[in-house]
């Protein structure tokens, strides 16, 4: 366990003055992840909330070297930076041990940046990729992504007399990444600070690609009061909607099992206004369908973690 009182003595790598929404957990995740290594870090950022809001010209909240290229290619960008570093190191022009890190949202990871990510994973670059999954295109005004959950309202998955929010299940990106057979893959949540820190540390220590998918509740997109960000994240974990697990060289480990304390999915849904139509009696079948899906995914992770 990391002692937070010791951790607080370490330098901050993302400073204040950024314009993320009040209560947005993304910057908390960034602060924690970037403290999980003592080495210098280079950050690549895909287009998204974090990129836009931390670097509004002429300001930047970053205290480490940071690069933004485009929406779809943060993994390709960091691949180039890492390859240049390797070449310079070979020539003796750099002797530091530098870590390479990507932050991208679900838009930049699940959808637009997927081929770039897949390429970088397959080529085996030595980098850490952290997806901040807020389940939609929130920065552009709440449009659905392939990470948006089944039944959720967004501006492009409306609720009306026929359609009741998003019709498709959330893409299981963590499994897609795991299929690349990279050395380290994990799912984490800002509500479980120790677990997230441990995973970030492992990811930095990994030789080769490491990927962490972190759930990042969104105050205006999920529609809940700003002080509830960590609680909403915890309910996602306790309902097993967002299992905390890791895959080290192919071996699955379930990091947290709520056991008896597993809550029904409705307890997570009812806190967020993007799901408020699901509280109506006539939409119970949608909640049931989501519950069945969550249970099946959960049983699958448990089974994979057993051996």
């Amino acid at each position: 366990m990391v002692n937070l009182r010791q951790l607080a003595k370490k330098e901050e790598r993302l400073g204040p003055g950024h314009r993320m929404c009040p209560g947005c957990p993304q910057t908390m995740i960034v602060r924690l992840v970037t403290k999980a290594t003592d080495s210098p870090v280079v950050v690549a950022n895909a287009t998204g909330c974090l990129e836009v809001s931390t670097t509004i010209y002429p300001f930047s909240a970053w205290r480490v070297p940071w690069i933004h290229n485009a929406f779809e290619n943060s993994a390709a960008t960091i691949s180039g930076v890492e390859a240049a570093y390797k070449a310079l190191k070979k020539k003796g022009k750099i002797d530091k041990d530098v870590k390479f890190l990507v932050f991208a949202g679900d838009g930049g990871t699940y959808d637009i940046g997927l081929q770039s990510l897949s390429g970088a994973l397959e080529r085996g670059h030595n980098f850490v990729y952290v997806c901040l999954d807020n389940e939609g295109y929130m920065n552009t005004g709440i449009q659905r992504s392939s990470a948006t959950p089944f039944g959720a309202w967004t501006n492009t998955s409306q609720v009306g007399s026929i359609l009741k929010g998003k019709q498709e299940f959330k893409k299981d990106l963590t499994s897609v990444v795991a299929s690349h057979h990279i050395p380290y893959v994990a799912q984490a949540s800002p509500s479980n600070v120790q677990d997230l820190f441990k995973k970030a540390k492992k990811a930095f220590e990994t030789e080769g690609p490491a990927f962490i998918n972190v759930l990042a509740p969104c105050v205006p997109g999920w529609k809940y009061p700003s002080e509830q960000s960590m609680e909403i994240a915890r309910l996602a974990v306790d309902s097993c909607f967002w299992p905390l697990y890791e895959i080290e060289n192919g071996k699955y480990t379930l990091n947290y099992d709520p056991g008896e304390k597993k809550i029904p999915i409705i307890k997570w849904l009812e806190k967020q206004k993007r799901f408020r139509h699901l509280l109506k009696p006539e939409n119970q079948h949608i909640v049931e369908k989501l519950q069945q899906h969550v249970d099946a995914m959960w049983e699958n992770i448990k089974r994979l973690s057993e051996n």
Partner: protein, 123 residues
């Protein structure tokens, strides 16, 4: 709100690619003006666990030391190797209320900013 003037630069003076050359200069942008609720700390209930500090999205809880005037008074708070609660950075705190929500001993509560205004409506 920015608290200092940014002289408009001519195009010849702007770094190529719009590079921002000063790391972390967003600190000069005072997001504290967004706040409508203010976190208030009660040292007599605080154990310096730093859970609020780790959860603050705006780096607005300071990591203090043994001399911090605001340090928690419960438990051990005189170890120089460990941080103590070091007060809020009200220039940047956006008033989200997460610190108050996660504090295990309820040592932080949120007050409307109007409580801190004098009769002229100034802070």
């Amino acid at each position: 709100m920015v608290t200092e003037n940014h002289d408009k630069k001519g195009w010849k003076e702007i770094p190529i690619g719009g590079i921002i050359e000063e790391a972390g200069n967003a600190e000069r942008y005072k997001t504290g003006t967004w706040r409508s609720f203010r976190p208030v700390h009660h040292p007599e209930k605080c154990t310096n666990c730093m859970i609020c500090w780790v959860n603050c999205p705006d780096t607005a809880i300071k990591a203090g030391d043994v001399n911090s005037p605001d340090k928690g008074l419960v438990g051990k708070n005189d170890d120089p190797n460990l941080a103590n609660f070091g007060g809020f950075d009200y220039e940047h705190c956006k008033g989200c209320g997460i610190c108050a929500a996660v504090c295990p001993t309820k040592a932080i509560d949120m007050h409307p900013e109007t409580e801190f205004l004098d009769k002229e409506g100034e802070e």
